[in-house]
């Protein structure tokens, strides 16, 4: 080992605390990068391998009842590689030991061949025997939630008949990686199950012999998706087609996409923050070290060491710090990445998990970190290189200070000289002070970004469950029912109020823009399920015209008073495979990317002109509302309802549920309280993990920045502080200068943290906006307070550690040594 390397080693040992603080900040950047990219890749890879192996379809469509031969016609559409026609129906489930009814999605399995598309992965057991009406394969999550094993039994109301079912197989499907039940915001595997049954049996039960009502399509590589959708719509029109949609609008797929998007933004936003902060820390620390070692550098140069050798010497110091950071970060990132991927494995239902984290991401993370660290050290290293030996050996001039223009203010006269010292020091190094403030602010803003989602989601819960949809449950019927069904519902045990609704699948057109969605009709003066205006206060439904949500208005460029073309896709009912939930606001989340030719569909379908009566607020789906009477008029039909919202006496819940489970007309039920409970439960778990991670990350930044700033201040001002001690100032008074300065920086950083956090949070909300849901932008005072407190605590702790060094300051050596 060369002598210079020995010096390096000892420098590292001497500076270990500062070096470690910097390395940890850098490590956080590496961790988050590896974590996010690793989890992203694993999830993406797992999903695409799953799709590939189990032939997940590209296009999905539903109809009322299409004869079998249509399948052949579908296959003949140019671009179609394969098609799988099936029967898909909702069923109410009655499970022993579970009071509330659950909802099932019954799907047919071909009797004498394998599934061509959306193949299921049979975890255990076998497929139902052809024609057996009592045999069923269920999805694994549902089985687990009920501790079902092969042979377990439960009841399902299939097309009005209550049938006993026996589990013969447990499976997973690429269609249900994220299995969301009707009316739920988050999957609840207890209340939603997928039932695969013999096609022959299901066809007989639902009167679909020789027919199908759901079709999935696999495209050829060069197929034009929009064209196929268009032709498919044309083909299915006469069989009650409700409009085909692409994979990206398939619910399970869309939710994983949202998660992937989030991981991606995490990888893009958070690591750079840490990398920048660590570059800044390396900058100030190395600059200071080189300032302290200027005599040594001069001496080395005088002895004949070249500038390159000296530059490399300091570069190695930076690289050691970076190396430690990268090592810690890589280990933590790998560990957390596996944890996160497993968490995904629990939340999303995959038959296998592929941990995808190639060496490249480690190399990239290490490369970026090393470069960032070196960039941070550049200024200091450059100073060392260019220092002429003669200058280096003589002591530096005292730092030049100037009076601040601010000091003309009367206020300043009340400050003690100690306070003025602190303030002038901050102003003397504006860039460093500014970056310190920014660094600390990053810590706080990170917390706001993490915590605000709790505020937003709580607000959304309040709006959705307590202001808009205040019903206790929503009952869906198998088919549209005449209005008088309302009276039957009102007479169910415990029902206090009942309110009908009607949902109709339509395509809204405005100019060249169009969207498939559902219009929900509600009775005037609806009190259970209300429509909220843009200020989240309930609004009255107009007698005619549509109320559209902000999102719909934005997508179709609508404003109040505009007229839109409403193309009725299915007048008689809306339902379909699981991508279409029965929750009216989540209905038919369908998007057309490339607009098909207007002429064909515009002329073909039943189209009406309707005026936009107002813009309203809705955080879920693409909401469009109308007075139910106006809607029925629009459809030219006698008044019917799709379902009923009910409020009931909680003490009679069991009785009511029992009754509902026996009602043949009911296809599904959404229980608000259950959905909310599950939502909160999942949220609490996620938020706990997330908050912990973010608090740790924030503390690392705040601690790293404050500790290093304080140490550098202390090093620079040791003589000043010693002088003060000699002059008779107490330890507390001397620390006051240091702590006051840090305090002022932290105080300036907190409002900045709020502002930056506000910006991050806003950007997050924008990023989240999709056709599935949008998040209200709410940050409560609490969140600001918590972020400030965490920053204060971390800064305070590091300042106090440095304060102890002030207390131990050796007055004599500090004063006698030349700077």
């Amino acid at each position: 080992m060369s002598t210079l390397d020995k010096k390096l080693l000892r420098d590292v040992i001497r500076l270990w605390a500062q070096a470690l603080a910097i390395a940890l900040v850098l490590a956080s950047g590496v961790t988050t990068l590896i974590l996010a990219v690793g989890a992203y890749r694993s999830l993406e890879e797992t999903r695409s391998a799953y799709y590939e192996r189990y032939r997940f379809a590209d296009i999905f469509a539903t109809a009322k009842r299409a004869p079998q031969f249509v399948e052949q016609q579908i296959l003949e559409i140019p671009g179609v590689a394969a098609a799988e026609a099936r029967i898909a129906e909702f069923a109410l489930l009655d499970i022993k030991g579970m009071v509330q009814p659950a909802t099932g999605m019954a799907l047919s399995l071909p009797d004498h061949r394998d599934l061509r598309l959306n193949r299921i992965y049979l975890r255990e057991g076998r497929l139902p025997e052809p024609g057996r009406v009592d045999e069923v394969v269920v999805n694994e999550a549902f089985a687990k939630a009920h501790s079902f094993t092969l042979g377990s039994k439960f009841h399902a109301i299939l097309n009005g008949y209550k049938r006993p079912l026996r589990i013969v197989g447990i499976a997973l499907s690429p269609e249900f990686i994220y299995a969301l039940g009707p009316g739920d915001l988050i999957p609840d595997d207890r209340r939603f199950g997928v039932l695969w049954m013999s096609e022959k049996a299901l066809a007989a039960m639902f009167d679909q012999e020789g027919a199908f009502n759901s079709v999935s399509i696999k495209l050829l590589r060069n197929a034009v998706e929009a064209d196929v959708i268009e032709r498919l719509d044309t083909l299915l029109e006469r069989y009650g087609g409700t409009g085909a949609f692409a994979r990206r609008d398939q619910q399970s797929h869309a939710f994983i996409d949202a998660e992937l998007k989030q991981l991606k933004s995490m990888a893009q936003v958070i690591p750079p923050i840490f990398l920048l902060v660590s570059a800044f820390l390396i900058n100030i620390t190395l600059s200071r070290l080189i300032a302290l070692e200027r005599e040594q550098i001069g001496l080395l140069k005088a002895l004949g060491y070249g500038a390159v050798t000296i530059g490399w010497h300091y570069m190695k110091l930076v690289l050691i710090i970076a190396g430690v950071g990268i090592a810690i970060g890589a280990a933590a990132g790998t560990w957390l990445g596996q944890g996160l991927t497993r968490l995904y494995g629990d939340f999303f239902h995959f038959p296998f998990l592929i941990f995808q984290r190639g060496m490249d991401i480690y190399v990239i993370a290490a490369g970026i970190s090393a470069v960032t660290a070196l960039a941070g050290g550049l200024r200091g290293i450059y100073a060392a290189l260019t220092l002429p030996p003669a200058v280096a050996m003589s002591p530096p001039m005292p730092t030049n200070y100037a009076r601040l223009s601010l000091e003309k203010l009367h206020l300043f006269r009340h400050f003690s000289q100690l306070t003025i010292m602190a303030i002038r020091h901050i102003v003397r190094w504006p860039v460093r002070s500014g970056l310190t403030v920014l660094g600390i602010a990053m810590s706080g803003s990170l917390l706001i970004t993490a915590l605000f989602s709790i505020d937003s989601i709580e607000y959304m819960i309040d709006v959705v469950y307590f202001r808009a949809d205040r019903q206790d449950a929503t009952v869906n019927f198998i088919d549209e029912r005449p209005v008088n069904v309302l009276q039957s519902v009102e007479h169910l045990p415990g029902v206090l109020a009942a309110e009908p609704y009607r949902a109709v699948a339509v395509r809204l057109r405005h100019g060249h823009r169009h969207r498939k969605l559902a219009i929900t009709g509600k009775p005037p003066g609806a009190d259970l399920s209300r429509v909220l205006g843009q200020n989240d206060e309930p609004v009255e439904l107009p007698e005619s015209g549509l109320l559209v949500s902000e999102r719909v208005a934005k997508l179709l460029k609508l404003k109040r008073g505009d007229t839109v073309d409403v193309e009725i896709l299915d007048a008689s009912r809306v339902r379909g495979p699981p991508d279409l939930s029965v929750r009216p606001t989540l209905l038919n989340v369908v998007r057309d990317q490339k607009a098909p030719e207007f002429k064909s569909s515009g002329l073909r379908r039943n189209t009406r002109r309707v005026q936009i009566a107002g813009i309203i607020q809705s955080y879920l789906g693409l909401a469009v509302f109308m007075d139910i009477r106006a809607l029925n008029e629009l459809l030219d039909e006698s008044p019917v309802v799709s379902g009923v919202h009910v409020a009931f006496d909680k003490s009679r819940t069991d009785e009511l549920y029992k009754k509902i489970k026996e009602l043949p007309a009911v296809s599904a039920i959404a229980v608000q309280g259950e959905a909310l409970r599950k939502f909160r439960e999942t949220l609490a778990k996620n938020i706990y993990i997330m908050t912990t991670v973010y608090v740790v990350l924030s503390v690392i930044i705040a601690f790293g920045v404050v500790y290093n700033s304080a140490r550098i201040q202390l090093s620079e001002r040791a003589r000043e502080f010693a002088s003060l001690r000699v002059l008779g100032f107490s330890k507390a008074e001397v620390s006051h200068v240091l702590l006051l300065e840090l305090g002022l920086l932290v105080a300036a950083a907190i409002p900045l943290a709020w502002i930056i956090g506000y910006g991050f949070a806003w950007a997050t909300v924008q990023g989240f906006e999709s056709d599935l849901y949008s998040i209200p932008f709410i940050i409560k005072a609490n969140t600001y307070a918590i972020s400030a407190l965490v920053v204060l605590a971390a800064a305070g702790a590091s300042a106090l550690i440095v304060r102890r060094r002030v207390d131990r300051l050796n007055m004599i050596t500090a004063l006698k040594t030349r700077e």
């Binding site: 030049n400 020091h425 003589r719 000043e720 002088s723 007055m811 004063l815």
Partner: protein, 231 residues
């Protein structure tokens, strides 16, 4: 003013024991200007540090009037420095972020009976450079600000460790003039450490140090004015 008996200071650096002070006996009188002469390492700075409450003794006693400095604790030493002692060092040790006046005010703010900062700076001949920052002052000027800062609280004792060590002869003389005038006008007991024999002439008494002991004490029958000093 100071009574010192058997004062000993042993430093432990690694396995080596260094006897910086090996049993010094000494008394400093009120209003006296004493010069402590000796090569570096002879113990004069250590003595001054202990008298000023910057360092503690290993053995022996040192009294400031009736107060035993060697028995004081950290807090009492701070109090002692604040109330009674003024320091001047070779490297001025001004606060760079405070102007000349503010450097002095730093002390007057915490003293019981200080003079005005302007007055103190006048006394060292810097009445015209009140608002300059250290970086804008010459070495001699900086040292005189340090003296003004040391005397502004009207200390009973002024301890100076190589006050002219970093200065040329001409500016050094200005600093010495400031010191003698403070001693005469305010009656501050002053101890000046130096290894510059030329300065010895300005003192009432001169103590010669060697190997942690006082080897000789001279009384100047006729003192020389600082302007006569040259090196």
């Amino acid at each position: 003013m100071f009574r010192i008996e058997g004062l000993t200071k042993v430093y432990h650096t690694g396995e080596v024991e260094i006897h910086a002070l090996a049993g010094v006996d000494l008394a400093l009188y009120e209003r006296e200007l004493a010069v402590l002469l000796g090569p570096s390492g002879s113990g004069k700075s250590t003595l001054l540090n202990i008298l000023g409450g910057l360092d503690t003794a290993t053995a022996g006693t040192a009294f400031f009037r009736d107060a035993e400095i060697t028995a004081m604790r950290e807090r009492e030493l701070t109090r002692f420095r604040r109330d009674h002692v003024g320091f001047v060092f070779q490297f001025y040790n001004l606060i760079p972020s405070l102007s000349a006046r503010e450097n002095v005010a730093l002390v007057t703010e915490i003293s019981k009976n200080p003079m005005k900062p302007d007055e103190a700076l006048d006394l060292v001949g810097l009445g015209h450079r009140l608002d300059h920052f250290p970086a804008q002052l010459s070495g001699g000027e900086q040292q005189r600000v340090a003296i003004a800062r040391a005397i502004a609280k009207r200390p009973e004792v002024l301890l100076c460790d190589e006050p002219t060590g970093a200065l040329d002869s001409k500016t050094g003389v200005q600093v010495l003039e400031a010191l003698t005038s403070v001693n005469e006008e305010l009656g501050t007991t002053t101890a000046v450490i130096t290894h510059n024999v030329a300065i010895a002439g300005i003192a009432h008494r001169v103590f010669y140090f060697g190997d942690g002991k006082i080897v000789r004490t001279d009384v100047n029958k006729r003192r020389v004015g600082p302007s006569k000093v040259q090196w």
